[in-house]
C-alpha cells in the first residue's frame, strides 16, 4: 500500500460525487491508500489568487503543512487544487525570501511550511506508484472500441516550469493512461486549449463560446467521449452542452467522463456503484460500447 494525504478540495464534494466515488474505488483497487486529513481548507485557486496572491500562497502552504505534519505526500483529484498546491510547494522551495514571508504569516496560526513533501496529481501517482504494466494487468474490461478525446485542462500542464507534469505543448501522460485501458486516444483540434471555465460567473457568454469550440472539435474528430481531469472542466463541458443547446441550438450529446470513471469501468467496477446519475449528458452510449 502506498499512502497519500488526499486533497479533496471544494468542488468535488459539493458537486461531483461521481468523481470522488470513482477515484476512491479505483485507486484503492490499485493499492493506493488515501488518508483524509483534518482541517484542510480551499487550496486557493485562481479566483482567490485574483483577490490576493499572498493570501493564496499562504493558504496553499498551510494545507501542505498539514500533510508535512502527517508525514505524507499529497495527491489531488482536482487539477485546480494540483496547480495551486504544486505552484506554492515549488515556488516556496525555490525562493527562500518568499518562504520566509509566508512562514511569518503562518506563524500567526502556529504553522510552518517546510517544503519536504511532494504534491502530486493522481495521474502522476498512477504512473509512478502503480505503473503502466501493473495497471494493464488489472484491467478486466478492455475499453477496446472506445475513442476517447483526452482533455488535460490548463492547470495540469501550465505553468510547466513549476508544475513539472508533462511537456506543455506535446503531453503524453494522460493519453498513455487512456491507452493502457485498451481505449484509443484520438487527436482533435485545439486539444490543449482552455475550456473557458474560469470565466463562468463573470463572462458566461465568452466561457460558453470557448467550451463550444472544445465540444465541437472533439465531436468532429469522432470521439465517443471526452475525458477530463478536473471538476471545473467537467462542469463546463457537461452542463455546458445544455447551455449550448439553448444558446446556439446545437445538440452534441458528447458524454464527458472523468478519467477515474473510465479507470473504474476498466477495473471491472459495476457502473451501478459509480453514481453516474450526476452526469447531465447520459453516458449510456459509452457503457453499451464497452460492455
Amino acid at each position: 500500500m502506498t499512502r497519500y494525504a488526499l486533497f479533496l478540495g471544494c468542488t468535488i464534494p459539493a458537486r461531483q460525487p461521481h468523481y470522488e466515488v470513482s477515484a476512491r474505488k479505483s485507486l484503492a483497487k490499485l493499492g493506493i491508500d488515501l488518508v483524509d486529513l483534518e482541517g484542510m481548507t480551499c487550496c486557493a485557486p485562481p479566483p482567490l489568487q485574483s483577490i490576493d496572491l499572498e493570501t493564496s500562497l499562504s493558504m496553499a502552504a498551510y494545507n501542505i503543512s498539514l500533510a508535512e505534519e502527517a508525514d505524507l505526500d499529497i495527491v489531488t483529484l482536482c487539477t485546480g487544487c494540483f496547480e495551486s498546491l504544486a505552484i506554492a510547494n515549488n515556488l516556496l522551495r525555490e525562493n527562500a525570501k518568499l518562504k520566509e514571508r509566508v512562514n511569518k504569516i503562518l506563524s500567526n496560526a502556529g504553522k510552518e511550511f517546510r517544503g519536504n513533501k511532494e504534491v502530486r496529481h493522481y495521474l502522476q501517482v498512477l504512473m509512478k506508484d502503480v505503473g503502466i504494466d501493473h495497471l494493464k494487468k488489472n484491467v478486466t474490461r478492455k475499453l477496446g472500441n472506445l475513442k476517447v478525446a483526452t482533455f488535460y485542462g490548463c492547470h495540469s500542464l501550465r505553468p510547466s516550469a513549476l508544475l513539472k507534469f508533462d511537456d506543455p505543448e506535446r503531453p503524453k501522460l494522460f493519453d498513455n493512461l487512456v491507452e493502457a485501458l485498451g481505449a484509443k486516444s484520438i487527436w482533435y483540434r485545439n486539444k490543449l486549449k482552455c475550456c473557458g471555465g474560469l470565466l463562468r460567473g463573470y463572462a458566461d457568454d465568452i466561457a460558453l463560446a470557448i467550451a463550444r469550440d472544445k465540444i465541437a472539435m472533439a465531436t468532429k474528430a469522432g470521439a465517443d467521449c471526452l475525458s477530463t481531469l478536473c471538476p471545473f472542466c467537467f462542469l463546463t463541458l457537461d452542463l455546458g452542452q445544455f447551455l449550448m443547446k439553448s444558446t446556439y441550438h446545437e445538440e452534441y450529446n458528447l458524454p464527458i467522463l472523468h478519467y477515474t470513471e473510465l479507470l473504474s469501468l476498466s477495473l471491472g467496477i459495476d457502473p451501478k456503484e459509480l453514481a453516474l446519475d450526476f452526469h447531465k449528458i447520459r453516458v449510456d452510449k459509452v457503457l453499451s460500447k464497452i460492455s
Partner: protein, 171 residues
C-alpha cells in the same frame, strides 16, 4: 501586503507599483510582440479582450483604464501566453497582480465577492450542499472533514484578506 499604498500616495509610477507586487515582477520585459494575443483562447472568441493591450496599457501607466475596466477580468488564467512568451513575462501572474491592485482600490466583481464570502464562512469557495453531505454515506463516501476556520481566520487576518471588499457605489 493587502494594504499596500497606491501609486499616488507613494509617488511611484504605476509600472513600478506593479513590478513590486507579487506576480508583477516581470512586466517591464514585454516588447509587445503579440505572441500572447495569438495564443489566447479568449481573444479568439471575443473583441473585449487582448492580453497584449492590457500589458501595453500597464507599461504606459494607464492605471484607471486598467483597474476600473472590464478587460482585466477576462483573462481565463490558462497560462498559454505565459508558457510561450519569448521574454518570459509571467503574463497570467501579472494579471493576478493587477487584479489584486484593483481589489485594493475597491473594485471587486460580484462573483469574487461570492468566493470571498464562501471562504470566510466555511473555508471553501464552492459551498457544500447539505443534500450531498447527507447522501455521502449512500455512495460509500466517508464523512467530510470541515476546514479549520480558526486557523484560516488567523491567516486571512495576517494578510489583510478579511478587510478586502467591494467599495460601495456613492449614492
Amino acid at each position: 501586503m493587502a494594504h499596500g499604498k497606491t501609486a499616488k500616495s507613494s509617488g511611484k509610477t504605476f509600472l513600478e507599483e506593479v513590478r513590486h507586487m507579487l506576480g508583477g515582477e516581470t512586466l517591464a520585459s514585454c516588447y509587445q510582440c503579440g505572441t500572447c494575443a495569438s495564443s489566447c483562447p479568449v481573444a479568439r472568441v471575443s473583441e473585449r479582450f487582448n492580453p497584449r493591450e492590457v500589458i501595453r496599457q500597464s507599461l504606459l501607466g494607464e492605471k484607471e483604464e486598467i483597474l476600473f475596466g472590464d478587460a482585466l477580468w477576462l483573462c481565463c488564467s490558462c497560462y498559454n501566453c505565459q508558457e510561450r512568451c519569448p521574454q518570459k513575462v509571467e503574463i497570467a501572474d501579472v494579471f493576478y497582480a493587477l487584479r489584486n491592485l484593483a481589489i485594493r482600490e475597491g473594485k471587486m466583481p460580484n462573483i469574487y465577492s461570492e468566493f470571498s464570502a464562501g471562504l470566510m464562512s466555511e473555508g471553501k469557495i464552492v459551498p457544500m450542499s447539505k443534500f450531498l453531505e447527507k447522501k455521502r454515506a449512500d455512495y460509500g463516501l466517508p464523512p467530510l472533514k470541515p476546514a479549520n476556520m480558526d486557523t484560516l481566520r488567523k491567516i486571512l487576518s495576517a494578510t489583510g484578506f478579511d478587510k478586502l471588499k467591494k467599495k460601495e457605489e456613492p449614492q
